[in-house]
Symmetry: C2
Subunit: 203 residues, 2 copies
Amino acid sequence: MIRLLLADDQALVRGAIASLLDLEDDLEVVAQVGRGDEVVEAARAAQADVALLDVEMPGLDGIGAARALRAGFPSCRALVVTTFGRPGYVRLALEAGASGFVVKDTPSGQLADAVRRVAAGQRVVDPALAAESLAAGPSPLSARETDVLVAVRQGNSSAEVAAQLHLSEGTVRNHLSAAIGKTDARNASEAARIAAENGWLLA
Amino acid sequence: MIRLLLADDQALVRGAIASLLDLEDDLEVVAQVGRGDEVVEAARAAQADVALLDVEMPGLDGIGAARALRAGFPSCRALVVTTFGRPGYVRLALEAGASGFVVKDTPSGQLADAVRRVAAGQRVVDPALAAESLAAGPSPLSARETDVLVAVRQGNSSAEVAAQLHLSEGTVRNHLSAAIGKTDARNASEAARIAAENGWLLA
DNA sequence: CAGCGATCATGACAAATGTCACGGCAAAGT
DNA sequence: ACTTTGCCGTGACATTTGTCATGATCGCTG
């Protein structure tokens, strides 16, 4: 019997997936949480074998939850589930110690199989997504460029970013200009959006 | 026996919700589609009583699907389900002829009840969301301001927007300025984002 | 060590974006 | 009929944003 933990902030989806997996004879949902920072505690309390982690969660995102799980309760393997297959997320998830990565676009019948494979110690990654992730490569952004984009994403103007990072406005704009070039964006906001979609602003 | 149609672009979520609702004795999922523009045809073919429509779908969004359903197969009532409770969406959905509006955040047990109530001819709207929707009121944007924001949202610069709408650049910037004020935004992109989140760019 | 490349930092300049005051026009109110 | 109100359209102006040339620093390599 494989003991499962579900982590997803949308209660409806969480409950629905629970009923889907409970149909399987060899699977058993033993815990459900709606926040990333409750995952480790719940997994330990319920002695879960596999944790299904959504990426978008309050408190701590699914990637961070996978990392925390590896550190705090390593006998429970992590299977990350997400709505969009941002290429960079796959890399980040695996680096964080996750055993698998599945998009919510896949047929519902395959989820149980993915869980079984992860429980058996195998890695599960959508092949197309893995290829895309490999092709996209790691983040092309330098440390400073990433800092600046993160700040812009919060909604700051370049002047405010300069103040926060103790830089001159010119410097900030220069980093932004570089980032705009590397992301094929047309302005700072778009660059921040693209970088975030590729998972370049989390590591 | 209530005959259900599920429309959601994420196959996994669609299947999970199907298994959740199939547990109920008086509910039966008779059709599933992944695109908004397939809803009417499928509902008619399966003689569905209630359609569960996600807002985010390719082809045609859930609001549009509800409208199409009312026009093309009115015996099937529409229950709109969405991830985020954008205030304006509630209003739009009801104006489009939907019988209910539920966020994916609600406990999974309540979904079946919502379906039953809709099937019985009642309206179902999350009370908190309804209040918020009422308080937010209709879109404060004028026709032109909406046009301009829609174009900006596609990724156009103000010069390109001006060309598309046959206006001078100054006029476009003026409408944008007004929209920025009305949305409490700090620049055009943010204004477009906020307006979209409130459902002001769909009607 | 010298040379190379990458990153960081800066200011000058150019281009875009946002604000403002103005006039025309049509619908609603007095 | 006259005023008021709101939306549309426009250009002048100020501000913000993006690009470029330049120099400093650091790690790596022949």
